[in-house]
């Protein structure tokens, strides 16, 4: 299991060092600094073996988190733990920075003592941790409170405590998708997928039993055509009708769930039922590859005029309902390293050549569906004797659209709380769809 955990700043100075196992000595701290942080070349692997000691590291801004071990540990678990550690720290004190870590080092040690015992990860749900690891020093707890804490930390529903009360029962569902594309210069889709998340923010009293439904092809096909619309949630029309229009159901390649979801039930009946943690949680992640609505199409045209000039023309076309608006559109057109000057003309938005990034960045605030816009640029090149040809990195794009490119729709989210007297109808529900660009690239 994990033998020790170190946190370093960008210079390689130790900010936190906690050793869990006898086989990890102080020299391990230095070994990582010398061999990884101060290494000359780029990091070639997130796992490094130095003198029979293995180091796992992740980096958050300029902070290094390293877990150390001498055993054959579960590597996936170690990384998952390091990410979780980052989440917990963020939940406690915000951004992970050198200053924040130094300011909270006592808290971090306390957390590390709690969530990692002899190198075995223990309950690391922020909701539960916050009930008994606080920054306000001692809090006199009654006996009931204490046993409530321990039963929650170790319990089956470790992510939620009993006795939560809200005057207004409310829940928010965000369907957040990132659409990824790799397109050939000729407009052929080389690969495309949507990776989506359903984020739920709930403010519900008691221990509510929830059931979530979406237009999953397998469920819809099972139910037949009859009952498809009856259960649609009241607010699901807030933006559910996406750019592509009337798609009834979508094929989900794979999905994963927050630990509150009963997986065996999903496996058997494909129904998603759970008791949610209070506040925000990522209910599920999913991935689709079929019938994706690609919100934008990029058509590049690069022409080399002699050895010292490039002509670039890029057309973007929006491909969704004209009534919807895409926002924060940014097209990034890479330029060769030996660029000496750029002239840009664009019909819409602003375009600038950024020498430091070796790219022309074209920004458009808003763009409605079924429109197109164009940019043309002349790039002057310095003559070089470099034999190597310019690699022509792909043109990448960023945007945000108010629909789910996968076509996913929330059909319902039902809430039951048998012990308290509020019903599903009393809960105010909100659904929002946001589609963002993931890695959205067109080769040129």
């Amino acid at each position: 299991m994990i033998g020790g955990l170190f946190i370093y700043n960008h210079k390689g100075e130790v900010l936190i060092s906690r050793v869990y196992r006898d086989d990890i000595g102080r020299n391990a701290v230095d070994a990582f600094r010398v061999n990884v942080i101060h290494a000359r070349q780029q990091v070639r692997s997130p796992v490094t073996n130095i003198a029979r000691t293995s180091f796992f590291h992740v980096k958050r801004s300029n902070i290094w988190l390293a877990a150390v071990t001498k055993q054959n540990v579960n590597a996936a678990m170690v990384f998952e733990f390091l990410y979780k550690m980052c989440d917990v720290m963020t939940a406690y004190f915000g951004k992970i920075s050198e200053e924040n870590i130094k300011n909270n080092f006592v808290l971090i040690y306390e957390l590390l003592d709690e969530i990692l015992d002899f190198g075995y990860p223990q309950n690391s749900e922020t909701g539960a941790l916050k009930t008994f690891i606080t920054q306000t020093g001692i809090k006199s707890q009654s006996k009931e409170e204490q046993s409530q804490i321990t039963s929650q930390v170790t319990g089956q529903i470790g992510w939620r405590r009993e006795g939560i009360k809200y005057r207004r029962n409310e829940l928010f569902l965000d369907v957040l998708e990132s659409v990824n594309l790799l397109m050939s210069p000729q407009g052929q889709v080389l690969s495309a997928h949507v990776s989506g998340r359903v984020v739920m923010k709930s403010y519900l009293s008691g221990m509510p039993e929830c059931k979530f439904g979406m237009n999953d092809k397998i469920v819809i096909d099972k139910q037949g055509k009859g009952g498809a619309s009856e259960e649609a949630a009241g607010k699901s029309d807030l933006g559910g009708s996406g750019g592509g229009g009337g798609k009834q159901s979508i094929a989900i390649d794979d999905c994963t769930f927050h630990q509150c979801v009963r997986l065996s039930k999903f496996d058997a009946e494909r129904s998603i039922s759970f008791i949610p943690p209070d506040g925000e949680c990522e209910l599920m992640r999913y991935r689709t590859t079929k019938d994706i609505i690609l919100p934008f199409r990029v058509i590049p045209l690069v022409r080399e005029v002699g050895r010292t000039k490039l002509e670039v023309k890029v057309v973007i076309k929006s491909n969704f309902k004209p009534s919807l608006l895409a926002q924060k559109i940014e097209v990034r057109i890479p330029t060769p390293l030996n660029t000496s000057g750029v002239q840009v003309i664009c019909m819409k938005g602003k375009a600038k050549y950024k020498a430091s990034e070796n790219a022309i960045v074209w920004k458009i605030k808003r763009m409605a569906g079924m429109k197109e816009s164009q940019i043309s640029a002349e790039i002057e090149l310095l003559p070089t004797n470099d034999k190597k040809k310019w690699a022509r990195p792909p043109i990448s794009m960023n945007f945000e659209v108010p629909f789910a490119p996968s076509g996913l729709k929330v059909r319902y989210l039902k809430v039951f709380e048998p012990k308290l007297n509020y019903s599903d109808h009393d809960v105010i529900k909100w659904v929002r769809y946001i589609g963002r660009s993931g890695i959205y690239e067109t080769r040129c």
């Binding site: 869990y20 579960n74 996936a76 990410y83 080092f105 749900e125 204490q146 046993s147 794979d254 496996d267």
Partner: protein, 922 residues
């Protein structure tokens, strides 16, 4: 309030100041001081001198302060064991505290203090805590047993903690179960034979129940433990798999990978024809793909594991090629791993896509990645034959870029392509030679030298090229030196006249001026070979090279099996068994996949049997494996063995001349006349029928003969046996100087004239040649009887193959026996020599059969009808005078004929029967 100020104190006398503060009466000041101490400890300062003062702060009701003091204790107790005792009382007291959080904290910390004296005091509190009413305390105590075991294993056993720990597996709280499982697994690892984790169907059931309820981490502990279990039979295996599959939808990648491990292992036991087996295979792909949308570090772990899974069960991900395409922003370690998997998944179906991708990658920035991409293109060429040509042209394009490392990498892979497809792409050698000067890496230089040596006969200035390398012989790496030595020896064997000096030079460099034993030994071996027996030298040095395998970097199967059992762990990331990187007793135990149970074996065995039975085609053309013997035989036919291979041609020519040309040498003589005669003999049969000629088959595939493909058949036309050959040049260069020679054979077949290929055979050209054969050559009995070993020579090399001719070629035209003679002979030949055969599915009546047979010089002498059965009596005469008598029974309406053959040389019967069958069915 911020804590960062604690990091900044660097004054002298700091320890002294801290000491004062620690002993202050004010609680706040004390706490501040302890924080400062911990901060100093973190950055590596030695604050152990403050031990007594810090321990004094331990007695406090401030939980935060207590935790800080405990942290200090854990760090320094080992260096101050005597003083650590001072803390024991507090620990023991805390273990009785009404607050479960404090009880747990005490037992957790005590376990981390590795001082023997303290350990003794730990036993009683630990025993109580293991049975505590609060699950939080129990789950902490469970881990504490593992801690204690790490310090003093004997003590843990003596105190009976292991049994208590085992009981906790049945605890009502899932987290307690999970921690107990983790602790037991760890302890069991250092006692490989202890049977601690006594896993049986009942305990497995408990674990599976807890699996649904515990935290994500607990699920990992349980799954990793389950993976060590071996189910009793396939049914148990299936039921566990069914209960584990829901975990594949967990958000935590480690849970998913551990579930994959359990499934991959238990799947081994499921019979392959089971529906569930297929369902399970299908269920595995999506979660594995989903792992690739995790954070890059996890992607890396997932990819390393997928690499193993793809090797073990390629069917799982064979349709998922696209998800492994490299993204521009992927970290380099993800890119390299994806590339590896892409090559493994490359197949004919997706090769176009893969190649297009690889071509893109070859223009990227990262040198390692580009090299790997170039190498990948080469590997695709070797793996998917249909793509080879495209791969080669892509590589040539890349060579044109002149980017140094791209060129070198391309040359290394092209060498392998040459090995895989000899005589196909040698036309690119010229392009390669242009880049000779830019090669500075040993591997690329060695590859280039190999190419020059191997194809020395086609590179006009091969000697110059090799000589240029020879100048700096001693500065080259061993790899290059060895290759250079071999290449020059090859060159000498191919062009002995011009390169005498060069070979002398390299041999003396290797043997006299080198300190490397490998090089010296190889040099001596070549030297002796060349000086004593040049023929043997040629056989050794220019021997046919074994095929290179399609897949490279495959993990050896037993290691792969072991690594599959370690999916998700470091072993699977390093692709090494745990013993390679873990010290001590842990991980020494080798894990193995379970064997398939009874029902599974039943389904597999027959397949193997079938395969073995089917893989022995009888008459297929075969390449003679032991060339050496044949070469000897062929040469012995004529004179003493030649001193250098260069004189092989004239010798063989002499051989041809020596074969008496009895038969007319008219190659394409009109067959009309002969046929006419045959018809006369047949007594005016209406249908014109010639002798049976088997269809042409490939005797020598281009792969084995540097691009020369030979197919052919035998025919007897107008009393002349002819070997009809089709020569196709599938190489890039022109072939000339063809000659042919037979080995001694059963019926003395020999070419009656030279092989008439008068014009050079250009690339992709085909020529048809008829070679008249005589039957007066030297005789040697072959097995099978009608086997013929042939050598064909051209300007490139000599090639050997063997083929089988239908014995009907040898049936002569005057094979019709007188009736009386037939009867007498039939009686005269002992019954032992009679053999009977069945010809099945022949729908000719006796008359048609008789006519058909006559076309092949099988003559019907008499016909008798007995009870609706036609008895045909026939005679055959072979070219060497052997008579074969036959009785053919044909029953109207029955497609199965019975044939009895009598002959003084009964060995031929089988061959004759084959001819009957061939003639009647065609």
């Amino acid at each position: 309030m911020t804590d960062s100020k604690y990091f900044t104190t660097t004054k002298k006398g700091e320890i002294f100041e801290l000491k004062a503060e620690l002993n202050s009466d004010k609680k706040e000041k004390k706490k501040e001081a302890v924080k400062k101490v911990i901060a100093s400890m973190t950055v590596g300062k030695d604050v152990s001198a403050l031990f007594p003062d810090v321990v004094n702060c331990m007695q406090t009701d401030n939980l935060e302060l207590k935790k800080l003091v405990y942290l200090y204790l854990m760090n320094y107790a080992k260096s101050q064991p005597d003083m650590a005792i001072m803390a024991v009382n507090t620990f023991v007291k805390d273990c009785e505290d009404p607050n479960p959080l404090i009880r747990a904290l005490a037992v957790r910390t005590m376990g981390c203090i590795r001082v023997d004296k303290i350990t003794e005091y730990l036993c009683e509190p630990l025993r109580k805590c293991l049975k505590d009413e609060d699950p939080y305390v129990r789950k902490t105590a469970a881990v504490c047993v593992a801690k204690l075991h790490d310090i003093n294993a004997q003590l843990v056993e003596d105190q009976g903690f292991l049994d208590t720990l085992k009981d906790l597996i049945s605890d009502s709280n899932p987290m307690v179960v999970a921690n107990a499982v983790a602790a037991l697994s760890e302890i069991a690892e250092s006692h490989p034979n202890s049977n601690l984790l006594d896993l049986n169907p009942q305990s497995i059931n408990k674990l599976l129940t807890a699996l649904n309820e515990c935290t994500e981490w607990g699920q990992i502990f349980i799954l990793d433990c389950l993976a060590n279990y071996t189910p009793r039979d396939d049914r148990e295996s299936q039921s566990i798999c069914e209960r584990v599959t829901p975990r594949l939808s967990h958000a935590n990648s480690a849970v998913v990978l551990s579930a994959v491990k359990v499934l991959m292992k238990f799947m081994e036991m499921l019979p392959k024809d089971l529906d569930y087996y297929g369902t399970l295979l299908k269920k595995l792909a999506p979660p594995l793909v989903t792992l690739l949308s995790a954070e890059p570090e996890l992607q890396y772990v997932a990819l390393r594991n997928i690499n193993l899974i793809v090797q073990k069960r390629p069917e799982i991900l064979k349709h998922e090629m696209k998800v492994f395409f490299v993204k521009y922003n992927d970290p380099i370690y993800v890119k390299l791993e994806k590339l590896d998997i892409m090559i493994r998944l490359a197949s004919q179906a997706n090769i176009a896509q893969v190649l297009a991708e690889l071509k893109e990658y070859a223009t990227e920035v990262d040198v390692d990645f580009v090299r790997k991409a170039v190498r990948a293109i080469g590997r695709c060429a070797i793996k998917v034959e249909q793509s080879a040509e495209r791969c080669v042209s892509t590589l040539l394009d890349l060579i044109q870029t002149k980017v140094n490392y791209v060129v070198q990498e391309a040359i290394v892979v092209i060498k392998d392509i040459f090995r895989k497809y000899p005589n196909k792409y040698e036309s690119v050698i010229a392009t390669l030679c242009e880049n000779l000067d830019s090669l500075d890496e040993p591997e690329a230089r060695a590859a280039m030298i190999w190419i020059v040596g191997e194809y020395a006969e086609r590179i006009d200035n091969a000697d110059e090229l090799l000589e240029s390398f020879l100048e700096g012989f001693h500065d080259e790496s061993t790899q290059v030196q060895l290759q250079l030595l071999t290449a020059i020896v090859k060159l000498f064997l191919k062009k002995p006249t011009e390169t005498q000096e060069l070979v002398q030079q390299v041999l003396s460099l290797a043997t006299q001026d080198s300190d490397n034993p490998d090089l010296r030994d190889r040099g001596y071996i070549y030297w002796r070979l060349l000086s004593t027996d040049p023929v043997a030298a040629k056989e050794v040095v220019l021997a046919e090279k074994p095929l290179i395998s399609e897949e490279t970097d495959l993990i050896e199967p037993t290691l792969l099996e072991e690594l599959i059992c370690h999916i998700g762990t470091l072993a699977s990331v390093y692709h090494k068994p745990p013993s390679a990187f873990v010290e001590g007793s842990r991980g020494v135990m080798h894990k193995r996949l379970p064997a398939r149970t009874g029902s599974g074996e039943g389904t597999e065995c027959p397949d193997v049997g079938n395969a073995a039975g089917g893989s022995a085609p009888e008459a297929a053309p075969s390449i003679i494996p032991s060339q050496g013997d044949l070469l000897g035989d062929l040469l012995n036919l004529d004179l003493a063995p030649p001193t250098t291979p260069a004189v092989l041609l004239p010798l063989m020519g002499a051989g041809f001349g020596a074969a008496p040309a009895v038969m007319p040498a008219s190659l394409n003589a009109p067959v009309g006349g002969g046929l006419g005669d045959l018809f006369d003999l047949g007594g005016g049969v209406g249908m014109p029928m010639g002798a049976y000629i088997p269809p042409k088959t490939v005797w020598l595939p281009a792969m084995k003969a540097k691009g020369l493909e030979i197919s052919g058949t035998f025919a007897r036309r107008a009393g002349v046996i002819q070997m009809e050959l089709v020569l196709t040049n599938k190489a890039m260069s022109v072939m000339t100087d063809f000659a042919i020679q037979f080995n001694r054979n059963s019926f003395g077949l020999a070419p009656a004239g030279p092989l008439q290929v008068l014009t050079p055979l250009g690339p992709n050209q085909t020529i048809e040649v008829s070679l008249p054969l005589s039957t007066v050559g030297p005789v040697m009995k072959m097995d099978p009887l009608n086997n013929l070993q042939v050598a064909v020579k051209n300007n490139i090399d000599v090639f050997y193959f063997s083929c089988q001719y239908p014995i009907s070629m040898l049936f002569v035209e005057d094979g019709k026996m007188e009736r009386q003679v037939f009867l007498a002979t039939w009686k005269d030949i002992p019954n032992d020599n009679e053999s009977q055969f069945q010809i099945q599915d022949c729908h000719l009546n006796s008359e048609a059969a008789s006519n058909k047979l006559q076309g092949s010089n099988i003559f019907t002498i008499a016909k008798r009808t007995v009870e609706g059965q036609d008895m045909l009596y026939m005679s055959i005469k072979l070219s060497n005078g052997i008579w074969v008598l036959a009785e053919l029974k044909v029953q109207a309406g029955n497609p199965n004929y019975t044939i009895s053959l009598k002959c003084r040389a009964p060995e031929v019967s089988q061959c004759v029967f084959q001819c009957y069958e061939a003639v009647l069915k065609n």
